[in-house]
């Protein structure tokens, strides 16, 4: 009954058929009628153009009309490609700056007239690929991007996104080729950081670190690069420093990146992982507010709270349990990596964590994915489970003390 169905459409896999009297185990408090008219019920994420969002507001339409006004325009003229692409780009920027996947669905809705075309205009291809990537549909994302670079070999965005997808799915060689295509097309900081990310995943972290230093020093980078690019470069450099066992540099670079954009969820998460690793879990509790909406950050907070025996550990655990259940209830499999970490580090169930981590490994193959798979396999004492991952780490010469230790531990099982 749990056969994956293909002939009957994608929805088949979404059908939750078993007789489970829950919405994924979410306990729902009784509905109520607020007693006061002014009772605030929901805070909407700040509209991108309503207030200065500091570093994060680098959306193309940051100075244009509000997204609401644009949507009204599009409703009157839904086949207006330029308008639809602009709106979708605004939504993508918001999905990123607010870490909110709702905007991905809104971007997709704006692109409805072109969404199912096999050869839509290139700007639509790029957006569709990015949305598909965010939904972990890496295969179709890649097909879109390969089509885009074929039709527009000078499209830097297409090459860069392709490199990202290739790297996430473990195609290191393909990612390197795509990054190299960027060299003549874009600012040096972008192509350098692209290649550095690849090099960092194939045993050349030191070289990658130095290359970013050199690119940063160029005046062009200081003038041309927006905050997003520099944050990306600095955070990658911090990760590389960590892998090279240079914790002082890593700490400095993470802070430099956060000074540019304190709201960048990727950087906050990476820095938190670093802090937890070096025994500074308490600082994570100050870095990430308890009320964060971002699951990846709440996960770090929950782990840190557990390690430092903080009183709000139980609350963070309960919140996350609920959120993972809600994701599962809608049929999402987007948070396997995070869920594996949660199950291992907070729930302390290594066996369950191994299954989640290995499911995740079939989809994503970044250093973090390798790490959680090995951690779980070691904790559950399942050498067989870790074999493929160990092989991958070794053959790609993935660096880092933690990973190295885990590989030895996994081999000793």
């Amino acid at each position: 009954m749990k056969l994956e169905r293909q002939r009957f459409g994608r929805y088949g896999a979404l059908m939750v058929l078993l007789c489970v009297a829950t919405f994924g185990g979410v306990t729902i408090a009784a509905p109520y009628v607020p007693t006061s008219d002014s009772a605030p019920l929901e805070t909407l994420a700040t509209r991108i153009n309503d207030s200065a969002r500091g570093g994060a507001s680098n959306a193309p339409a940051a100075s244009g009309p509000s997204s609401r006004a644009m949507r009204t325009l599009l409703a009157r003229d839904p086949k207006n490609l330029d308008l639809a692409v602009r709106i979708a780009q605004v939504y993508m920027a918001r999905a990123r700056s607010e870490s909110d996947p709702r905007f991905l669905g809104q971007a997709q809705a704006a692109l409805t007239p072109w969404w199912s075309q096999s050869e839509p205009p290139v700007p639509v291809l790029l957006l569709r690929a990015t949305i598909r990537q965010s939904n972990h549909d890496f295969k179709n994302s890649r097909l879109d991007l390969e089509q885009a670079v074929k039709r527009e070999p000078n499209n830097a965005q297409a090459w860069l996104t392709l490199a990202t997808v290739q790297q996430v799915t473990g195609d290191i060689k393909g990612a390197a080729d795509s990054c190299n295509k960027l060299l003549p097309l874009t600012a040096r900081l972008i192509s350098t950081t692209c290649i550095a990310a690849v090099d960092g995943a194939r045993g050349q972290a030191a070289k990658a670190f130095d290359s970013i230093n050199a690119a940063m020093a160029e005046p062009e980078s200081a003038r041309g690069a927006n905050v997003g690019v520099r944050t990306w470069a600095l955070t990658l450099q911090a990760e590389l420093a960590d892998r090279l066992a240079r914790p002082v540099d890593a700490d400095r670079l993470y802070r430099a990146s956060l000074a540019l954009d304190s709201a960048d969820a990727y950087t906050v998460a990476a820095y938190s992982d670093f802090l937890i690793d070096v025994g500074r879990a308490k600082e994570v509790l100050a870095l990430i507010p308890a009320a964060t909406r971002v699951d990846t950050l709440l996960l770090r907070r929950a782990i840190a709270a557990k390690i430092s025996a903080s009183p709000d550990a139980a609350q963070a655990e309960a919140d996350l349990t609920q959120r993972f259940a809600a994701s599962r209830a809608r049929g999402d499999r987007l948070h396997l990596r995070e869920e594996a970490r949660f199950v291992l580090a907070v729930k302390n169930s290594p066996d369950e964590a191994v299954n989640l981590a290995l499911d995740n490994w079939t989809v994503q193959k970044e250093p973090l994915d390798a790490r959680i798979a090995l951690e779980a396999a070691v904790a559950a004492r399942k050498p067989k489970a870790s074999r493929e991952v160990v092989q991958w780490v070794v053959s790609n010469q993935l660096q880092g003390d933690k990973l190295g230790q885990l590989v030895s531990q996994a081999r000793a099982l």
């Binding site: 749990k2 009957f8 058929l17 990306w232 990727y266 999402d332 987007l334």
Partner: protein, 385 residues
């Protein structure tokens, strides 16, 4: 070069350099329905953020939705919700009314809770839900349905079915466990017949299997059978072997004892049609055709199971549905046999039959199934059906 570089830097900003860190999940609404007799009651939880997207709840644009901004818009919220949900029983609509509206909190924020009620014309045995909420504004929105029917006895626990409505699957039907056993059985039988009627691969397999049933094989030649009884006997053996085989795997798969990936199953089904058709032209399979029917029947059973799984059956009536669906499949097959076998028998002695019906027919079936095989095994889109 310099200018282009800077331009790229500015326009590239919306891109994900690093994978997106996602807050909670995408948009869902939670629809709980309870069916009792002809009445449907329930509640529908819709996120305030989603309602704001389509109805602009935040009138004062302070980025906070307060109770007055919701309360004053109750009529519009109810109207919007009713426009986007239809319930049907036996082809006629069950009009929905929205009652009280409350507030609740889910893992990703505050939701409007709409109490709803609907009355169908007669007792509901199968409910069709057409869900359209928000899809035009958010393509990744999903409706999460929990459908409850009371148990048969007063002490029985209620039956609950869960289903997800994504944008490309907004209409789904549910056979309820509360209908009389006979009525339910009837629905499952109809489902089974329908599946044979629209399952081209099963039809072609049976046709390929039945085409030579009015012959016996002598060496490499087909010789017409002497009487109808011989033909009927060989058909009976074939159909029985196929039925027993697919019943076994249908049950095993439905009870979750054996699981095979659908791509493999669908590819093997195509391969079985291809092999049977080719065998009619150049015999290479075992001479005992019922053995072939049995072996391939095992594969087709897995295919039937995925159809059954798509019908949203309550697991409490799994045995009943298995039985009904299987009977339906049998009836569908017998109808096909009743059409094909007499025709084949009557025309068996004409010189045209071996050449046109058997040879050409088998070539056509082989070609179609080869298309399916390539399409399914390589995950392509080749075939119009």
């Amino acid at each position: 070069m310099m200018r282009r570089a800077i331009l790229t830097l500015a326009t590239i900003a919306w891109l994900c350099f690093t994978p997106l860190a996602q807050a909670h999940k995408a948009s869902d609404s939670y629809l709980s329905l309870k069916v009792e007799g002809a009445k449907v009651t329930g509640q529908w939880d819709i996120a305030l953020r989603d309602l704001d997207l389509v109805l602009e709840l935040d009138r004062n644009a302070d980025s906070v939705i307060d109770w007055s901004e919701v309360r004053s818009r109750h009529a519009e919220i109810a109207a919007y919700a009713m426009q986007n949900l239809d319930l049907q029983s036996r082809g006629s609509a069950c009009p929905i009314t929205i009652g009280d509206q409350l507030i609740d909190t889910h893992s990703d924020g505050a939701y409007a809770v709409l109490k709803l009620a609907a009355t169908c014309r007669e007792n509901v045995e199968a409910l069709t839900v057409n869900y359209r909420l928000l899809f035009e504004a958010d393509a990744q929105h999903r409706g999460l349905l929990k459908l409850e029917t009371p148990g048969k006895g007063s002490s029985d626990s209620p039956h609950v079915v869960s289903a997800v409505f994504p944008a490309d699957h907004g209409t789904q039907s549910f056979t309820l466990a509360s209908g009389s056993t006979l009525a339910q059985l009837g629905t499952y039988i109809a489902d089974g017949v329908k599946h044979i009627a629209i399952g081209f691969d099963h039809i072609l397999f049976l046709v390929a299997l039945l085409l030579p049933a009015v012959f016996t094989r002598e060496g490499r030649r087909w010789v017409p059978v002497v009487d109808f009884r011989t033909a009927l006997w060989s058909v009976l053996k074939l159909v029985t072997a196929f039925t027993i085989a697919h019943s076994i795997t249908l049950s095993l798969a439905s009870l979750d004892v054996v699981r095979l990936p659908s791509r493999l199953v669908e590819s093997l089904i195509a391969a079985s049609v291809l092999a049977t058709a080719l065998d009619n032209i150049w015999p290479f399979l075992p001479r005992k055709r019922w053995l072939v029917a049995f072996a391939f029947g095992l594969i087709h059973g897995f295919g039937f199971a995925s159809v059954l799984a798509d019908l949203n059956l309550p697991s409490s009536s799994l045995v009943l549905s298995l039985l009904g669906f299987n009977i339906g499949v049998e009836i569908g097959q017998l109808i096909l046999v009743a059409i094909v076998v007499p025709l084949a028998y009557v025309s068996r002695s004409s010189t045209a039959y071996p050449r046109f019906a058997l040879q050409t027919g088998s070539v056509v079936i082989a070609a179609v199934s080869l298309g399916w095989l390539l399409e399914r095994s390589l995950n392509l889109q080749l075939m119009p059906f």
